[in-house]
């Protein structure tokens, strides 16, 4: 395990910083069902952190706790060195935590450009009267945000569909637009809920490349969920493994791969 609080340097030479987010003894229950049982882990600045586990392990629940959609019954969430009070999801987003969803949540009626622009809402400070007047501050603000958005659109190679209504796009591109919207917010922490679910091999490779590029180019801290072991192992710096709501492994991909409990959870083991 790595416990150097100053961070570390990865094999490919990227510098990983201190702890950005820390989950302490999180327990989440739905009635009698325990979705997450006393889990703790941390996410460091600049790293790609994966949460993996078989179906129903509580991965998505964990992501929803981080993004404020679920409120855990027990445990604490620490963000940038201070304990986070109970927050609603939009407040969490305003704090700089952006996310995507397992079943894509885009604004279907809007164009790709408009969708990505909504990611910048937090950066628009002019009031309604300034916007009505338009000239001056409001116009400058729009231009500035538009430039930031165009940069991301270029980066994710979706220029050709900028004006297309999202509802007309194929699944793989929708996923990419959702990533673009999350990136537009220039998040301190980016949460990806099964970014490669339902994709073919080629699309998966594309998405993997984009995730790595985003991390490399913008230095974005990324936490992602996946149940495809293979993809995750190539992508991430450290991995948390969950099974039936419990944490059964935490460490570098190699450490996790050789963990007997993880192997059992994935391959199944008879308990007789």
């Amino acid at each position: 395990m790595l416990d150097n609080s100053e961070g570390y340097v990865t094999e490919d030479g990227r510098k990983i910083g201190g702890v950005v987010m820390e989950m302490k003894n999180i327990t989440l229950r739905f009635g009698g069902v325990v979705a997450i049982k006393d889990i703790s882990f941390d996410i460091r600045e600049g790293e790609i952190r994966a949460i993996i586990g078989p179906n129903g392990a509580g991965k998505s629940s964990m992501l929803n706790v981080i993004s404020g959609f679920y409120v855990p019954q027990e445990g604490e969430v620490w963000f940038h060195g201070s304990k986070r009070p109970q927050m609603r999801p939009f407040e969490v987003a305003q704090q700089g935590i952006a996310r995507t969803f397992q079943n894509i949540a885009l604004f279907e009626g809007m164009s790709v450009l408009d969708n990505v622009m909504t990611g910048r809402l937090g950066y628009m400070k002019t009031n309604i009267f300034q916007q009505a007047w338009w000239k001056g501050k409001a116009e400058a603000e729009e231009t500035e945000n538009r430039e930031a958005v165009e940069k991301i659109i270029d980066f994710l190679e979706i220029q050709h569909i900028r004006k297309t209504p999202v509802s007309r796009l194929p699944y793989g591109l929708k996923k990419r637009v959702e990533l673009a919207r999350a990136l537009a917010a220039e998040p301190k922490l980016l949460l990806l809920d099964e970014p490669m679910a339902g994709m073919n091999v080629e699309e998966k490779e594309d998405m993997s490349r984009f995730i790595l590029d985003v991390n490399d180019e913008f230095g974005t801290t990324i936490a992602l969920i996946e149940h495809d072991m293979g993809v995750v192992m190539d992508l991430s710096d450290r991995v948390v493994v969950m099974d039936y709501g419990k944490k059964i492994g935490d460490g570098t991909p190699d450490e996790v791969r050789n963990n007997q409990e993880v192997i059992d959870a994935y391959l199944g083991v008879s308990h007789d």
Binding site: S67, F69, R88, P89, F90, E91, A93, Q94, A98, R99, F101, A105, L106, F107, E108, G109, M110, D114, M117, T118, G119, L121, G122, M124, T126, I128, Q131, A132, W134, R181, A182, A185
Partner: protein, 328 residues
């Protein structure tokens, strides 16, 4: 030009202007329906409430005067001042924003995620509640509303048409003003929803709640805003209808006229509300003019609803509404 055709032209013009007033009420419905999926039955009562509040403030009436007098045995009814129209309109708008906040805080917030029919029932309750509050606040007698809008026949149109057709058209100045104001209002609403930050957030909320939350939009704030905008539209409609036919209970029934307009135009389309309103306005006036005498008149009472029924059979989503596709 044959006399009948000239008459028909006048009827169409009048119909267009009546249609604008219908569209004005329908707009309020569309705004709330688009952003929150709620069919707001109380929209008509909101227009009544706005008009009564406006008159009350202008006349310097003491709100809840009857209630206060009954409890304390006093006899106060008026503050003894008159508030200028423009200031009164601004104050009334403040009251409508407060109302929007109350609706969101005390009613809608507790019903998030409920079935549409439950939300609809809640707005019926809201309608009766608001009607009672309006009576209690300002008294239930019929009042006249005069904010200084021009009224009466437009002489210029009368003279010009007389010179051309040998027959002067009767067009009310108020209808002309209403048309201009409605056009400005629609332009402003479209610009607001397309180009401003809040408008973009409003469209986002209308589209997907979860996604809106994930980009940092507060649903509560947007809903208060939408109800405020609907309150503003209700105020404008209240001023127009109140000036035209007095501020009285029947004002809240204009909401019923907005229903066929919405069925025609589609519940989710701002241009649809306008076009639907115009079609109903012109349609019922022309029908009354052409067919009315044959069936004994009074067709204006039912024409709009029959037209809406026919639309429901052949194009249930309306002219501009989003097509309803159920995937199995």
């Amino acid at each position: 030009m044959p006399e009948q055709l000239v008459f028909a032209m006048e009827v169409i013009l009048n119909g267009l202007m009546a249609g604008v007033l219908y569209a004005l009420v329908a707009l309020g419905f569309v705004l709330i329906y688009k952003a929150s999926g709620i069919f707001n039955y109380a929209q008509g009562v909101m227009a009544l409430f706005a008009a009564m509040t406006l008159v009350g403030i202008m006349n310097g009436q003491v709100p809840f005067a009857h209630l206060i007098n009954a409890i304390f045995g006093t006899h106060i009814h008026y503050f003894g001042w008159n508030v200028p129209a423009l200031l009164a309109i601004i104050l009334t708008m403040g009251v409508m924003v407060l109302l929007a906040w109350c609706v969101q805080r005390f009613v809608m917030r507790h019903l998030v995620g409920q079935e549409p029919i439950i939300l609809f029932m809640a707005t019926i309750g809201l309608a009766y509640f608001l009607e009672g509050v309006a009576d209690l606040m300002w008294g239930s007698e019929i009042k006249t509303l005069d904010v200084g809008l021009p009224q009466g026949i437009n002489l210029w149109i009368d003279e010009t048409t007389f010179n051309i057709f040998d027959y002067g058209f009767f067009i009310d100045n108020l209808d002309i003003v209403a048309t201009i104001i409605a056009a400005l209002l629609v332009a402003a609403l479209v610009a607001f929803s397309q180009y401003t930050k809040q408008g973009r957030a409003m469209r986002a909320v209308a589209d997907d709640h979860q996604a809106a939350l994930s980009v940092g939009i507060s649903l509560n704030f947007i809903w208060v805003m939408v109800w405020s905008v609907a309150g503003f539209v209700a105020l404008v409609a209240g001023i127009m209808w109140g000036t035209k036919s007095g501020v009285q209970f029947s004002l809240s029934l204009i909401a019923l006229k907005a229903l066929p307009v919405l069925m025609l135009g589609g519940f989710t389309s701002i241009p649809g509300a306008i076009v639907g309103g115009l079609i109903i306005g012109v349609g019922e006036k022309l029908f009354e003019f052409a067919i009315g005498p044959l069936v004994g008149g009074a067709t204006e009472n039912w024409f709009a609803y029959v037209l809406a029924l026919i639309f429901l059979v052949f194009r249930p989503q309306g002219l501009f509404g989003e097509k309803i596709i159920e995937r199995v």
